[in-house]
Symmetry: C2
Subunit: 228 residues, 2 copies
């Protein structure tokens, strides 16, 4: 294995271990020693990539938005819907994503860690998509993309949090379907509504087609990383 | 002051101190000593009312839903809208409420504390109101009250959380107005929409009328407690 490739793998192993430990213990109770034990790397390797617990937390937070990767859709509103269901589905299986969400949501995350950043990254990414949707005539004329997007990010955050608190996120797909059933009629042109798929199992179906799409486009690695 | 009244005041002082400390430090970092110092009560008094940190946290969580008290409205959907704006407004000024919300939301709150309970209490209270709204013909026939209510509670939670992370909750009224603008058209009969008031400053106006209403009904004490 080339030296650079090994460094990338080591960095990834540390990030995944840190995400899992942050998910289980939160920022305050997490120690570098716990991450070292989980990642099975040397102290030197960890400090080479991440000089402090703050930098480790920041890197885990920065990993959040890439988990929203979905295959492009002709209807951009469908693509936005898909992102929410895919993130919901990935939360069930991916500890790095869960750790990242916990750091963003927990009030204990200290001020030195910019935990508002994932909210802003999601908002920027979704606003771009929603503006394309508007330009293609998918939206009602009353929609202001930045407002709608901030609501979607906030509502998603709370819905996944309530689903975690009450059912360990087992019912997250159902709750996202209810969210979209209430919001789509206020943003999509009526003619589009019957064609939009926001059913509870949408995440599973998109992930299956996502793997096919990634293979066709030679992006197995990125997909593998995000879906693992 | 009668003995019983003094006990009620002491219990309240401890709860308010505990709420403030939980808000600032979270469950794990909060100690009984910190609450004692803030409440200015004796250790004996605290343990008389709350035998453990868990029981203190549980009592702070139980205080959350009473903060949603609003004057009754002829339109029950307006009353539900009012509850969200009033809680949003009270979050700005009331540390006990903020501590209660933090305990419910933070993943660090341990399994021994039932932090899903406030979500369920809100859901029960709002479902009852929404069913009255339905019986009075305020809702579209497609609305299933328990589903809509769970969405409202989840979305409110996330919207206030994002507002806290980004602006210290300064823009919460605006964000609640955006939330309702997206959800009301999916649940209210169209004829009702123009009369519903879900503007950003609704919380302030309801609290002002709430004080008048409480005085007329001789409930100054309850109102004073909740609004302080």
């Amino acid at each position: 294995m080339a030296k650079q490739e090994r460094a990338i793998r080591t960095r990834r192993a540390i990030l995944e271990a840190a995400g899992a430990v942050f998910d289980e213990h939160g920022y305050t109770s997490t120690t570098i020693a716990m991450v070292l034990e989980r990642a099975e790397v040397t102290k030197g390797a960890l400090y080479f990539h991440f000089p402090s617990k703050v930098s480790l937390a920041q890197a885990v937070l920065d990993e959040q938005v890439p988990f929203g990767a979905v295959p492009p859709q002709p209807c951009k509103l469908q693509e936005i819907v898909d992102m929410t269901f895919v993130v919901g589905q990935r939360l069930l299986g991916n500890a790095l994503l869960r750790g990242s969400v916990r750091l963003a949501v927990d009030q204990e995350t200290p001020a030195g860690v910019d935990h508002g950043e994932p909210f802003l990254q999601w908002a920027r990414r979704l606003t771009t998509l929603l503006e394309v949707a508007r330009d293609r005539g998918e939206l009602l004329p009353t929609v202001k993309p930045p407002e709608t997007v901030e609501l979607l990010v906030g509502a998603f955050t709370g819905v996944q949090l309530m689903s975690r608190a009450l059912t360990g996120r087992a019912d997250l797909g159902d709750r996202l379907a209810v969210l979209w059933a209430h919001i789509l009629p206020s943003i999509a042109v009526p003619g589009l509504l019957p064609a939009l798929d926001a059913r509870a199992d949408r995440g599973l179906r998109v992930l299956a087609s996502s793997r096919e799409w990634a293979q066709e486009h030679g992006e197995e690695h990125a997909e593998e990383r995000a879906a693992s």
